[in-house]
């Protein structure tokens, strides 16, 4: 098990490195003009050259990649206008437009996105799995058809329309905004409530359908019939024997979904005014703020790889037949 995890972590690191190099190449070799962005429209050629030198933009691409990687491991010094600024490891460079270390920007944005995604996930898992399980039990009835119809309806409306409608009309919800959890959990929760409901209820539609399909299959299995024949209650049959097996495929989807959502909930963050990863990278994209974009890519790839690993390990606990080694 430990050996397996070690192997997976090593392969995960290589995936992250490849992703970084590839995006580095794409961003830095593209015909962009970072020095011009930093300097602004009225800029002398000497100033541009100075900036390029301080960011090593005048070096060959391979050297630049090397310096970037080195910065992540041991930190990096930037010389600008005669002064030296030390950027501590892991150094992802400085934002061109905000003048702050990328790590600091990411560290500020990540908790916001994580809060939105985790809270939303709690809502959609509870609502979705419950609705799906109930619908599976009454398959074919009016209630089941109603549930399936509702999920189709919700899924066919673009997400940002739902979010906008919630932001515009659900005025009875507390004002949204991000307040750190450790300052006051209550204000943290109330500021995120609208976003949670929005993320939760729209994703619940998909999870209702996954769980319904999975539970219909599971409830038709022989071991469910065996459980019924023992004389235990229907509820116990469905929730202990059925759900336990039926949830396994849902967990797989959940892991991957969670990873994608963690790389930035752009619509949710923009509409509810929450300064998360999505907003940060979107802004960086508009302003050619390459170090911030690269930082976003790094976080995204790390999260994806980690979530995949977590799902695989979770499987060994869910299904005793899976033994990793």
């Amino acid at each position: 098990m430990l050996l397996y995890i070690l192997k997976r972590v090593l392969s995960a690191i290589s995936v992250v490195i490849v992703t970084l190099v590839a995006s580095f190449a794409l961003f830095f070799l593209a015909p962009t003009d970072p020095a011009g962005v930093i300097c602004g429209p009225r800029c002398t050629p000497e100033r541009v050259a100075d900036i390029e030198a301080s960011l090593s933009l005048d070096q060959p691409p391979l050297v630049q990649i090397g310096q970037y990687m080195k910065g992540i491991v041991v930190g990096r010094d930037y010389e600008a206008g005669g002064t030296t600024q030390h950027c501590e490891a892991p150094c992802l460079g400085y934002s061109y437009t905000l003048g702050q270390p990328v790590t600091k920007l990411l560290a500020a944005a990540l908790p916001v996105t994580v809060s939105i995604v985790i809270g939303g996930a709690v809502v959609y898992l509870i609502v979705g799995v419950l609705a799906g399980t109930i619908a599976a039990q009454v398959r074919g009835t009016t209630l089941d058809k109603g549930v399936v119809g509702t999920t189709l309806f919700v899924q066919s409306i673009p997400y940002f329309v739902v979010a906008l409608l919630v932001a515009l009309y659900a005025t009875f919800l507390p004002d949204s905004g991000y307040h750190p959890f450790f300052d006051n959990p209550l204000t943290w929760a109330s500021g995120l409530l609208a976003a949670w409901l929005c993320v939760g209820l729209t994703n619940a539609a998909a999870y209702t359908r996954y769980s319904r399909a999975s539970m219909i299959e599971t409830l038709g299995q022989d071991f469910v019939r065996t459980a019924t024949s023992k004389g235990i209650s229907r509820r116990r049959v469905v929730y202990r024997h059925g759900l336990r097996a039926g949830l396994t495929p849902v967990v797989t989807i959940f892991g991957i979904d969670l990873a994608f959502q963690l790389t930035g909930a752009i619509f949710t963050e923009s509409i509810f005014g929450l300064p998360g990863l999505g907003q940060l990278t979107l802004r960086a994209f508009g302003q050619y703020d390459l170090p911030v974009l690269l930082g976003g890519v790094l976080v995204g790839s790390v999260v994806l790889v980690v979530m995949n690993l977590v799902v695989d390990i979770a499987y060994t606990f869910l299904d005793p037949r899976v033994r990793l080694g």
Partner: protein, 362 residues
């Protein structure tokens, strides 16, 4: 024991293990109908089935897939979803009527006085729970005991069904058991509450032949110890010869022949039973082509008129007036032997068997 061969039906000469009985039946099925309304029409899975089994006796229900043997037995345990299945008639277990029981009553009844061994232990045991956990759950559903006591009981049961080292095995998962061991565990689970009625639904189909013999012996031994009534569902006539006291042959949802095992296997009186015997490959002599029953079982959506077997029956011309096509025969005694019944219009089925069928048997 492991190299024991299953006796073929042609070798059956022994008498029933217990002599003919007048005992009070423990399971009594009367005019049972099970129907499933579907988009394509009404599936008539069981039509007017009646039989009874006293304690300490074994009834084998034989028939092709789709003949209604499993469906009728699941009805005995109240396992059909009542929103899907329409069940009429009467099923009495120990004097209690099962048809029309409420959900609460059914929960108490299932797995207590009546329990079931299922066909494929691989899929019938829950893959995510330990064997012990699953046996304990059965026991605790009917006895208010502590986990500790239930576990002791589970270990005891595993030992009784011949699983070596039950103390260690009790905490293992089904995938850590071999096929035969899994079926033993399934049997332990079915017997944990000392049921008076045990239904075994093709318990050996998924197992290889040597393991089959062990499992059959095990069920027979346990039946002796527990004194239960056993209903044994199978399509394997070799198994029937091994375990049964009585046989009920089913075709298209109805019983076509019923009687003591040596009579039915030795001198069957229904053309379908003849076909079953003829379709058994000969194990001795020159290799000969197989003799399957021509045609295939009817769709239960549109059961043939009259005798449901008539489209496949080679003797229907010997019955006058096209009766086979127009009138469904009664399940009654056709010969001087009143202990057995069959559902066929033939006047002298015993003679037809002797002159036309017997010479063709291997």
């Amino acid at each position: 024991m492991s190299d024991q061969t299953i006796p073929g039906p042609s070798t059956v000469t022994r008498v029933a293990r217990t002599p003919g009985t007048n005992e009070e039946p423990y399971l009594e099925v009367n005019d049972l109908h099970v129907q499933f309304p579907t988009a394509d029409g009404l599936v008539k899975a069981v039509q007017g089935l009646s039989y009874s089994v006293p304690l300490r006796r074994t009834l084998a229900i034989v028939g092709e897939s789709g003949s209604g043997k499993s469906v009728s037995s699941m009805a005995v345990l109240g396992l059909h979803d009542r929103r899907v299945a329409r069940i009429t008639g009467s099923i009495k277990v120990g004097g209690r009527e099962v048809v029309g029981m409420s959900d609460k009553e059914l929960e108490k009844y299932r797995g207590g006085d009546a329990s079931m061994i299922f066909q494929d232990p691989q899929s019938s045991l829950h893959p995510y729970f330990t064997i012990g956990d699953q046996i304990m759950e059965s026991y605790r559903a009917h006895h208010s005991v502590s986990k500790r006591q239930a576990k002791d009981r589970a270990i005891d049961m595993l030992g009784r069904v011949g699983i070596p080292n039950p103390r260690r095995r009790v905490d293992q998962y089904p995938h850590e058991f071999s096929g035969g061991m899994r079926q033993r565990a399934m049997i332990a689970m079915a017997l944990v509450n000392d049921p008076k009625l045990l239904i075994a639904d093709e318990p050996t189909t998924a197992l290889d032949v040597t393991v089959q013999a062990q499992i059959l012996d095990l069920i027979a031994d346990l039946q002796r110890d527990f004194g239960s009534a056993v209903v044994f569902i199978t399509h394997d006539l070799g198994v029937v010869a091994e375990v049964a006291d009585d046989i009920l042959v089913m075709y298209a949802g109805t019983a076509v022949e019923h009687g003591p095992v040596n009579k039915i296997l030795g001198e069957p009186l229904h053309p379908y039973s003849w076909g079953l015997l003829e379709s058994i490959p000969a194990l001795t002599g020159e290799p000969a082509p197989l003799h399957p029953i021509p045609g295939s079982p009817p769709s239960l959506l549109a059961v043939p008129s009259g005798c449901p077997f008539h489209p496949r029956c080679e003797f229907k011309d010997r019955v006058p007036d096209d009766l086979c096509r127009t009138l469904k025969p009664e399940l009654i005694s056709r010969t001087a032997d009143l202990g057995r019944t069959s559902r066929c219009h033939l006047k002298d089925p015993d003679k037809v068997f002797e002159t036309d069928v017997l010479p063709r048997l291997p």
